[in-house]
Each structure stands twice: as structure tokens, then as C-alpha cells.
């Protein structure tokens, strides 16, 4: 395996506590991004003119080329400087990264606070066998550390070593062996495509397209189609991003935690160690109902913070892009081992929370008075507390079920508006780390919600007290 190759060459192990540089091809790969962006901009600007004015003149073309070349030189030079300054080192407890051309920065990631490790391979880096290692440590704002770029083998070796050290696992040599992976589920491409088509805005877009085509044929002019182009471009790019991001979605288990592999052009391998999942949401849009498909989203501390907001926060926080109910339940079971450990509820209860209404499955739901505030969905608002997990259910058209382990509860709140007060209702919210899952239960009877608030505070405390998943998860096993 690759790890052997890395460990047999002395001085090449990435984990010996020495300061080492990133891969020398880094400036080329990263500088290229700027040039590509410039090319896209020029292409968009000039593409429109091309149709009207024909080919640009020779001087015009030369000026454009020269500008792009200058930009490439500038970007490349900066990337080169950045690469020369960047150094990282790994020792027993921390990973450190020094970066910065003008403003120096030194980041330190305590390994016992490691929340997730991703190996990301952008398209261009894949050609050169390079990869980016991205670590999430618990912190507010942008707390991730990105080692960009490393040799792929080094990135893999570093990942297993970091995970092993974070877990407090003993191993021989400088580099920990790669943890064995057991694949549990793959999302077929056909299903990914169909799930993208079963989407409200997609349907509207299709209808719009058909309408315009008809209009164009009737009018005998392509003018309506041209008008549709910008909208069409946006829709296509959104769908394309989702398609490539979720392409070939695979879920696997390993002693390191849950492994997710996905991506068509940029591939991403995520490892979320046990007990790092803060909250889970199962979601079923209206048009997926016929197939009984579900999407599973998670909150992991560090995911979706800072830089990731514009760069695929949705993608990172996905535990399953689209799956059958059985698959979704299985994945949720992997993410929340507490669920299986607490024998008091089976996965059946979770299933009841997916579609149930009223008091089905033992849920506490909104009283009749809530129909004034939510005439359609009042029966679906419900909460169920099990020994280890709190389940919050909502939504008639778009069904949602949130699961929060008691041990991962950050803080709690009770909210009551003037109408709720009149009706004797209150809403209950559990605060989780940043992410797509924001668990809350609307319109519970006020006294029930208040009792829940205090009981849940106590449960969260006692659950934390005997939580074994914090810090080094392999210690004492």
C-alpha cells in the first residue's frame, strides 16, 4: 500500500515532527485557478460580443492574451511565494501550519479536538496525484486547517496517522496503517439524476422551457429562447454543482469513523470520527415522496463555518444525498451509535417520526389549539425523548425529522410569541453547532415545553458525564 512506500523511505514520513513544505507543484495548481477564472470572465465578456461583431481584431486579441499572461505571472508568483512560506509539522498532540506572505499566520490544531478529516482532490490536482488535507477542529468561525497540496499517498498516510493519534491508538513506526474500510452503501448515478429532476424548481424550469420552445415555434423566432438563456445557465450550473458534488456518493465504515466518498471532478473523502456528529436531519421533499427517498444532513463542528459557506457547505454536511428509507435509517444509525446503544428505542421509532402525526410512535405533539397558528402542519409538530437522543418532527409537505444526542446538546431555549401565549403554547429549541440542522419543536403545550426544557438540561448533563466519545475515542477500549 501507499503507506508502506511512505514509511520505508527515511525522512519522507510526513509525521516525524519536522517542519516540512507542501508539494512543489502547489503554486502551479493553485495559480492556475486564477488564470482559469480570468479565462472564464474573458470568455463570458467576449462571448456575447463575438456573436454581434465577429472575431476580435489582432491587436485586441494580443492585448487580451498579454493581460491574461501578466495575470498568470502575478498569480503564479504570489502562489510561489505562498508555497515557499508555508510549512507544516505534526507531532504527538498537534498539527501546526505556518502560512502567509504579508501577514504571517500560525495555526495549531490540537488533535484531541479533531472533529473531521477530509481528503479533497480538485480536478487539476488529480492529474498530478496531489490532494488537499483538510482538518476541522472545534472552534468558532473558520477553524479548519487546510494542507494544500500534498502527495496523495502522503495525504492518506497523514490522515490515518492524525486519526490514530487523535484516537489515542498505539501503532508501530511513524505512520499509522490505513484503517480498514467496510463499504455499506453506494448511491446509484441514475437515482442521483432522478432525485435532481424530482425537484420543484427543476419542474418549473422545465415547464418554462417547454413554454418558451412553443412560443419560439409559434412566433417563428428564437428571441424567447435567447431571453431564457441566463436563467437556463443558472439552473444548469446549480444542477451541475449538485450532480458533480454528489456523484458516486459512497458511505463506508471504519474504526476511524464514518467515511464518505463523493464527487465527479473534485473528489472528496470525508472521515467523521465517532461521536463527532452533533445533530442529524432526515428530510424528504414533496416530490421524493413517491419513491420514499430521504436526504440525511448532519452538523459537525467546523463543517460549514468560515470559508465553506460559499464553497459547498451543503456538500460537506451531507451524510446521504438521496437514499431509500432503509438506507437513510442505516446511515443515521452509523452517525449516531447512541441510537443503537440505547436499547429503549428501535429504529422503528425513528421511522414513526418520519411520517407519523399526532401521538403516533409515542411522540408528544401540538394540541388542537395549534391549528390556529399552523392549520396544515400542526399535527406533525412533535417531540420524542429517548434515553440517548431527542427526536423533533415537523413538516407535512417537506417532511423533516431532527435527531440530537443528549450528550451533544449545547444549550436550550423556550420561545413564546403573543399568540402562542394566548393559546398556552411555546416552542422549544435545541442549539446545536453551526450547520443545516437547527432542531426545534413548534407549538408544544407551554407546561410540557417548560418541563421538557428542564428535563432535557438534566439529561444533557448526565449524558455528557458518562459520554465516552469525547476526545480520544479509542482510549480505554
Amino acid at each position: 500500500m501507499t503507506t508502506e512506500a511512505a514509511s520505508t523511505i527515511p525522512g519522507r514520513t510526513p509525521t516525524d515532527g519536522e517542519w516540512r513544505p507542501l508539494h512543489p507543484l502547489t503554486p502551479f495548481v493553485r495559480g492556475w485557478k486564477v488564470v482559469a477564472a480570468a479565462l472564464v470572465v474573458v470568455g463570458q465578456q467576449r462571448g456575447g460580443d463575438l456573436a454581434q461583431r465577429g472575431l476580435p481584431s489582432r491587436t485586441e486579441a494580443l492585448i487580451t492574451l498579454a493581460a491574461i499572461a501578466a495575470l498568470a505571472l502575478l498569480a503564479g508568483g504570489y502562489a510561489l511565494l505562498a508555497w515557499r512560506r508555508a510549512r507544516y509539522r505534526v507531532d504527538a498532540d498537534v498539527l501546526q501550519l505556518r502560512t502567509g506572505v504579508l501577514f504571517r499566520q500560525e495555526r495549531q490544531a490540537p488533535l484531541d479536538r479533531l472533529q473531521a478529516v477530509d481528503v479533497v482532490r480538485p480536478l487539476l490536482a488529480r492529474f498530478f496525484g496531489l490532494a488537499e488535507l483538510s482538518l476541522e477542529v472545534a472552534g468558532s468561525g473558520d477553524s479548519s486547517i487546510r494542507l494544500s497540496l500534498l502527495r496523495e499517498a502522503d495525504a492518506q498516510a497523514l490522515r490515518s496517522t492524525l486519526l490514530a493519534r487523535a484516537a489515542g491508538l498505539a501503532y508501530e513506526g511513524d505512520v499509522a496503517p490505513e484503517a480498514p474500510e467496510h463499504e455499506v452503501l453506494t448511491v446509484p448515478v441514475a437515482r442521483t439524476v432522478e432525485s435532481l429532476l424530482r425537484n420543484g424548481s427543476m419542474l418549473v424550469g422545465l415547464l418554462l422551457l417547454i413554454g418558451t420552445v412553443v412560443a419560439a415555434v409559434v412566433l417563428g423566432s428564437p428571441a424567447p429562447l435567447v431571453g431564457l438563456l441566463p436563467i437556463g445557465f443558472t439552473v444548469v450550473s446549480v444542477v451541475w454543482t449538485r450532480f458533480t458534488g454528489g456523484f458516486g456518493f459512497r458511505v463506508a465504515t471504519s474504526p476511524d469513523g464514518v467515511r464518505l466518498h463523493h464527487g465527479l471532478l473534485t473528489t472528496r473523502s470525508q472521515t467523521v470520527p465517532p461521536g463527532r456528529v452533533q445533530a442529524v436531519r432526515m428530510r424528504q421533499p414533496l416530490l421524493w415522496r413517491g419513491r420514499d427517498w430521504w436526504r440525511v444532513e448532519v452538523n459537525v463542528a467546523g463543517y460549514g463555518g468560515g470559508r465553506n459557506r460559499d464553497e459547498g457547505a451543503v456538500e460537506e454536511n451531507l451524510l446521504l444525498t438521496v437514499g431509500t428509507r432503509a438506507e437513510a435509517l442505516m446511515v443515521v444509525g452509523l452517525a449516531l451509535p447512541e441510537l443503537a446503544a440505547a436499547a429503549d428505542i428501535g429504529i422503528d421509532v425513528v421511522a414513526a417520526g418520519l411520517t407519523g402525526r399526532g401521538s403516533q410512535g409515542g411522540f408528544t405533539s401540538s394540541p388542537r389549539g395549534a391549528r390556529w397558528l399552523d392549520p396544515i402542519g400542526w399535527r406533525r409538530h412533535g417531540v420524542l425523548v429517548t434515553r440517548a437522543v431527542l427526536l423533533a418532527r415537523r413538516g407535512v409537505l417537506v417532511r423533516e425529522l431532527d435527531l440530537v444526542p443528549h450528550a451533544r446538546t449545547q444549550s436550550l431555549a423556550l420561545l413564546q410569541g403573543p399568540l402562542q401565549r394566548r393559546l398556552g403554547l411555546a416552542s422549544f429549541a435545541v442549539h446545536s453547532t453551526r450547520g443545516p440542522v437547527r432542531p426545534s419543536v413548534q407549538h408544544l403545550p407551554a407546561d410540557v415545553a417548560a418541563a421538557l426544557l428542564h428535563q432535557q438540561a438534566e439529561r444533557a448533563m448526565s449524558a455528557r458525564a458518562d459520554s465516552t466519545h469525547d476526545g480520544r475515542w479509542m482510549m480505554g477500549r
Binding site: A138, Q416, A450, A457
Partner: protein
Amino acid sequence: MRSPGDPMVPDDVAWSAVSPRLALGRRIVACGSLLVLAIAVVVVAGVAGSPIAFLGALVPLALAGWVWWLIGRQVAAIAYAERDDDLLVRRGVMFRSLAVVPYGRMQFVDVEAGPLDRALGIARVQLHTAAARSDASIPGLAPDQAATLRARLARRGEARLAGL
């Protein structure tokens, strides 16, 4: 644990109110800007020479009166209670909220005071957990009270801190 009476205001704990100087500070900011607006309207009306326009100044003045009253009620509704293992913070008159922040979940505690706050002798204690949404802050404490509260919270947090 079910408390009799209003569930949003559990009465089995000792609530501490915040300083009424907080209301003064908020009133200065809110009513002050409305007053400036009223003066502006009067000036414009004077320049335009239209007596009807002077009545327009009554709108911001009336608003200022209402805001004055509202802020008093809002500040009176802010209260906190230190329990054995968590902190309760309650606020709001129309839209009420009651937050529970376990000491073990506090990552760090800040004390903040702006220039106006310092002039009035108040400070705000801001609690940070790993959750972005848990907005647990106690405004309007006397600075020394804020400092001791922060120290106490930090000590309790350290004793109970349990990772994420």
C-alpha cells in the same frame, strides 16, 4: 420539575434583574435619534413656512414616548438565574424567551462595555458555546458584578467542561 404558574418564568429559582441604567442607555440611543428626527422636521417645516408640517414632528415625539415605555418594560423583563449546573436567561415581553446554558458547554465568557455603557457604569456578559445560535448574554450589569459573574461562570465551566 414542573413549576406552577407561568412556565416561561420558573419561580423555583432566584432571578436577578439587571440594572435600570441599561434602560437609560437604550433610551438615550433610541429616543435621542427620534428627537433629532423631530428637530429636523421642525427645521424643515420652519424653512418651508408651513404650519401643518410642524405637526409632523409629533409623530417621532409620540414614537419616542412609546419607545421610552417599551424599553422600560423590556429591560425589566431581562433576568438571569444561576442554578447548580446551568444558567437561565430570560427576556422579552411580547416575544418571550427562556434560555438554558449548561456551565459545561461554555467555551469562554466575555465582558463587553461600549463607551456609553462605561459612562453609565454597566457592562454585558456574553457567553459563548459551540453553538452559533445560543445567544446567551446578560446586558446591564455593574462592571464589578459582571467581572465576578464571569469569574464564577468560568470557574464552574472549567469544573464541568466536557468537550463538545
